[in-house]
């Protein structure tokens, strides 16, 4: 995985999202343009990392932003963390696309829609998305073992469950779960108080 701190920092350094949120709620098209300027590149990068197709990535970025645009009324400008919400919506759109290709929309899967409700992002701070934290996070990612990095990538960029990871890696489920948890805790440690 290639880590790009400036990208993360540039997109996530915006501290004053409240005004932007209010303008988006007022259906101000200029606010949508500003939202894209802030998060478009990061969103596209994330989605492309998942789907590996430029045309599909374009469509999914558009879908993600439109979803945010249409659900903005439910977002609390004073409490919500806009960046994480958009990234979550974007990732979910991409993972949904992958799952539809793979036929993985099984009954056992969590509906990603449920995981991106604006309410979920209220009172969430996006301090973790600051540049120094992103740099530390990338450093922590590099320190992971190959298996740990592999399971994290499968979880974040392929949307595989631990059971699916175990099947693909031909490893016991318990072993995979250990890799996943060890990796998540190492990364959370780098994010410090935000996720502590």
């Amino acid at each position: 995985m290639l880590f790009l701190f400036p990208l993360v920092a540039a997109v996530l350094q915006f501290r004053d999202d409240a005004d932007l949120i209010r303008r988006l709620q007022a259906r101000d098209p200029n606010a949508m343009a500003e939202l894209y300027d802030r998060y478009g590149k990061l969103t596209y990068s994330l989605i492309y990392r998942v789907v590996r197709n430029e045309g599909v990535a374009e469509d999914l970025v558009q879908e993600a932003f439109l979803r945010v645009w249409n659900r903005m009324a439910a977002f609390d400008a004073g409490k919500g963390a806009l960046g994480p919400w958009i990234l979550t919506v974007a990732r979910n759109r991409a993972i949904d696309y992958l799952r539809s290709l793979d036929g993985r929309l099984s009954a056992g899967s969590v509906e990603l829609d449920k995981l991106e409700q604006p309410k979920t992002f209220e009172r969430a701070s996006d301090r973790a998305l600051e540049m120094d934290r992103a740099r530390a996070l990338a450093g922590a990612f590099k320190k992971l073992t190959d298996h740990q990095r592999q399971v994290i990538e499968m979880a974040y960029y392929e949307g595989l469950s631990q059971t699916e990871m175990a099947e693909r890696m031909k490893q016991p489920l318990g072993t995979v779960k250990t890799w996943v948890r060890t990796a998540l805790r190492a990364l959370r440690d780098e994010l410090g108080g935000v996720t502590a």
Binding site: L2, L4, L7, V8, P29, N30, A33, Y36, D37, G40, K41, L42, Y44, S45, L46, Y48, R49, V50, A57, E58, V61, Q62, F65, L66, W69, P84, L87, T88, R91, I95, G108, V110, L112, L115, T120, F121, R123, A124, D126, A128, L129, R133, L137, F141, A155, Y156, G159, L160, S161, Q162, T163, V180, R181, L184, R185, L187, R188, L191, V194, T195
Partner: protein, 254 residues
Amino acid sequence: MTPQDLRDLCQLYALGVLDGEELTEMEQLLREDGEAVRQAMRDAVIANATIASLAPQMEPPKRLKKKLLSAIGAGTAETGWNWMWAAVSTMLVIGLVWTMLDNSRKTTELADARKAADDTRIALTRTRADLTRVNAALRFLDEPETRLVGFGKGEPTPPRGNVFVNSKSGVLLVAANMPQLTGGKTYQLWVIPKGGKPVPAGVFQSDASGTAVYLMAGAVDMRSTGAVAVTVEPDGGSLQPTSTPIIVAPLAGL
């Protein structure tokens, strides 16, 4: 369940990759809606977004923003200006082309108008000349000394007409069915003395219908003149007839 376990579950649940018993357990915790779970979920979505945002940087195509804004019924500022400039440019081009075409059209119209004016002027001049000739002919005909000489009657081929002779005023030729002249030719009137050579009396043209009215002003010695004749001559006339006369009007007996 330790706090670390809860965070693990929340993070995996927020990613949508939890399944089996762990998913069931997590959903139960969410239904209980405890503060610790809510806080763990808030932290989880932030952590997940941060980790997901470490994807390799890719530059989205420029058209994407335009497509997105178009989808909400708006355009980018740049697009708006581009449209405006495009519209202005288009209007300027159209205006320039129209002006050029209009100038060209006006130039053509002006040239046509000038030609028409020239044609009118020429026609008017001709009309005035014709009118002058007609008036002169009418005055000539009104003079009591004018005598009439017919010609062409009984001839198998045209032209036919009359020659009016006035000893003080000259000779008036009124002819019809004059033959069409080819290029470089003209009619020439001759006054032919009795027993003498033809004397040039002027050149003239017929109109499109073959009618000719020509007045030779000047005194005519009726007693010494044998006939009046018309030949076809080269432009400018000849000193002596070079072709057989098409009209011969004898003055004998006047």
